[in-house]
């Protein structure tokens, strides 16, 4: 289980016609705006098929969930999607409890998530 890390780092790297957003840290009320801005910039820049690499995400709260939903809706409106990979147990519990596992596509690793767009 990833330890709580309050700093958020996001890097977006193209993998073919998919963009992988590698997210590290906590997705919460303090970091939500930065994450949303980064994801929105990627989407408006044409990266509408996104994979969120959650291996380094230690925590998510309600503000984080709202950010994920907003980014997912924006990507889908553009004809793409936001899919998550390598979600840790702690974050997965929050996603399950809040019903997000029924609307977001989750994959065990980044490669599988990228391949799901093929």
């Amino acid at each position: 289980m990833a330890e709580y890390a309050h700093e958020l780092q996001v890097t977006v790297e193209p993998r073919g016609d998919v963009a992988v957003a590698r997210i590290t840290g906590s997705v919460d009320t303090i970091t939500a705006d930065d994450l949303l801005t980064t994801l929105q910039t990627a989407i408006t820049g044409g990266h509408i098929r996104l994979v969120g690499d959650f291996e380094g995400v230690s925590y998510t709260s309600s503000a984080g969930l709202r950010t994920l939903l907003a980014a997912m809706k924006e990507a889908r409106r553009s004809g793409g999607d936001l899919r998550l990979a390598s979600v840790g147990e702690r974050v997965l519990k929050v996603l399950e409890l809040s019903g997000f596992t029924s609307i977001l596509r989750l994959y065990p690793d980044v490669d599988t998530a990228v391949a799901s767009y093929a």
Partner: protein, 293 residues
């Protein structure tokens, strides 16, 4: 007693919401211990069903040790030992004996005797922290937020497990288990203006074997309430700006309705789960403080 939803009077900065979950709700005591150790004050406590008992005890200012001792004494097999024969026979032979309008398999006399030493004669006015307890109006299905009057009545109403104990009447309203309308009543804390809402609640553990009619009924109820729990929690997370921080103890052991021997385990796991969110909680409190300044 006024049983209508209360009107917010002043913002409640930090709220603790303890949802349904029976004995598992003892995990909230572990959370409580961590909050006390960290000097984090709670401005509002909301409880529902099994969580109502712990919420009431915390709001009254009992120590974790006293809460543990109280609930261990309270939740014994004794409270389930006496069948409500009149209710059962009335349901089976309504024309002969008359159906009372309630169906309970267990007589609530032992339950009331168990609750009374802890809560008898105590009222919401005596709580050190504002307290809200949620039950369900059996006639309408609406959630009822109790904030005044007898704590014993409020907790008794909130834990009226369907088919197990009879509904409890407060001010002419027959109230049943709060888990039927609001198994995790985050909305109460939102309505009261909380900035940061800590939640602990549990989906009902499904029976390992369904070999009795009671377990069948319990399974049906649990399916409903578990799905309601997730749907409501999802809505509250998305619909409001308040920061909702779920504290989720890892409970890998089977914990039944009366598994009081597991209370220390639940507390320990609750404490561990709380310790994981403490660093974030400190930061978010500082963040909201900065936003208010």
């Amino acid at each position: 007693m006024e049983v209508l939803p209360s009107v917010p009077d002043a913002p409640r900065r930090v709220a603790l919401v303890i949802g349904s979950g029976g004995v598992k709700c003892a995990g909230a005591l572990g959370l409580w211990r961590v909050l006390a150790r960290e000097g984090i004050e709670v401005d509002l406590v909301v409880g529902c069903s099994g969580g109502s008992l712990y919420a009431a005890a915390m709001a009254l200012g009992l120590s974790v040790e006293d809460c543990e001792a109280m609930t261990t004494r309270l939740w014994t097999r004794e409270v389930m030992a006496r069948r409500d024969t009149r209710s059962i026979l009335g349901a089976l032979f309504p024309r002969l004996l008359g159906f009372e309008g309630d169906l309970a398999l267990v007589h609530d006399g032992p339950l009331m005797r168990a609750l009374t030493p802890a809560l008898g004669g105590r009222s919401f006015d005596e709580t050190r922290i504002p307290l809200r307890i949620v039950a369900t109006d059996f006639a309408t299905g609406e959630a009822v937020v109790l904030s005044e009057g007898s704590l014993l009545d409020a907790v008794r109403a909130s834990i009226s497990v369907p088919f197990v104990w009879k509904p409890w009447v407060i001010d002419g309203r027959r109230l049943v288990d709060g888990c039927l309308s609001a198994p995790m009543p985050v909305d109460v804390a939102i309505r009261e203006g909380a900035d940061v809402i800590l939640t602990m609640g549990f989906e009902a553990a499904l029976p390992r074997r369904i070999n009795t009619a009671v377990r069948f009924a319990y399974q049906v109820t649990s399916i409903y309430t578990n799905n309601l729990y997730r749907a409501a929690f999802s809505f509250h997370n998305l619909a409001h700006h308040a920061e909702i921080i779920p504290v989720i103890p890892e409970l890998n052991q089977h914990i039944g309705l009366l598994s009081t021997e597991k209370i220390p385990y639940c507390i320990e796991q609750g404490e561990r789960a709380a310790e994981e969110i403490v660093p974030y909680l400190h930061r978010v409190l500082a963040h909201t403080e900065g936003a208010r300044a």
